[in-house]
Symmetry: C2
Subunit: 176 residues, 2 copies
């Protein structure tokens, strides 16, 4: 039951120590993200890790939550063009399936971070234009997720508030 | 480095033994999915696990890949309405951010399956109408992902083909 323990340990952290994050730990988080699966193995992502203090301050101010101003590092998950073949299915369905791939890769990053004793928080809403400018992201790309990253100020694991299993799964028939 | 080992072990499996999948293992996969993070903790998902042989055969024929006809079980990941507040951000951005949440929950399921010695394969394209009908999914919901599930016919771990780390990450500036 090792993975379930890690899942329970991963939690959204909104208060961090000012202690910097070692790059060897960040590299293992990136390696976990690199190995993530994606539709047609398109890997439609790039990660930009910000650990320069001035840059991190700028990114923190581009967030819509006050806590992002006190985060020691960020990882920006950028949506890349990917492969035409895997974009086609999404286009046909009127949806961008790359979001599924990016979510998976970002979560691999966060789970490895939890294993390293680091805290994370996935952010989906922020000032897109400002973040792109700060990181030098070219047109046609989108910063889809910002991951706040650092040592948690409080290492206590909170109980997760989730729907009961009976309200989220059934066998052989919806809702059954 | 336990999580990275699990990440290396999770791979897309397209050939399965006919051996049935024990429900206690499936329940732990569902528990891992249940505990996944989501925007505003909306948990916009439901899982329907199909292990009834006749139903599984029907679902297999709704896939666009031949291998799905020989899969012993499926888990359908269904997109639920979720919370209005978390749909709003996505609507403003012209995107359905629930896809990120569903990708993460589905991957939690697959990683726990790997821990249980089970193989999985994430499927994004299949006959939506047929799958919804077979599972009794009400209107307004969408089967976003089908997860093929079973004991792998071949337990060998393949080398993953992925972009080099240098081509997917940089520090403090895009593409560095």
């Amino acid at each position: 039951m090792i993975f379930l323990d890690l899942v329970r340990r991963r939690q959204s952290v909104r208060q961090y120590l000012s202690r910097p994050v070692e790059r060897d730990k960040v590299e293992r988080c990136l390696e976990a993200a690199r190995l993530a699966p994606s539709a047609s193995n398109a890997q439609p992502w790039r990660f930009v890790v910000a650990d320069d203090p001035a840059l991190v301050r700028g990114l923190g101010r581009a967030g819509y939550n006050r806590f992002t101003r006190e985060v020691p590092a960020f990882a920006a998950v950028i949506r890349e063009p990917g492969k035409a073949v895997s974009r086609l299915g999404g286009w046909l369905a009127g949806r961008d399936y790359r979001l599924i791939d990016l979510g998976i890769a970002a979560e691999h990053f966060c789970l490895q971070a939890a294993e390293e004793g680091l805290g994370t928080c996935l952010l989906g809403l922020f000032n897109q234009r400002r973040v792109k400018k700060l990181l030098g992201v070219p047109p046609g790309r989108r910063v889809q997720i910002l991951i706040a990253l650092g040592y948690p100020a409080d290492s206590q694991i909170r109980e997760k508030r989730r729907k009961d299993l009976d309200r989220m799964r059934s066998y052989n028939r919806y809702g059954g």
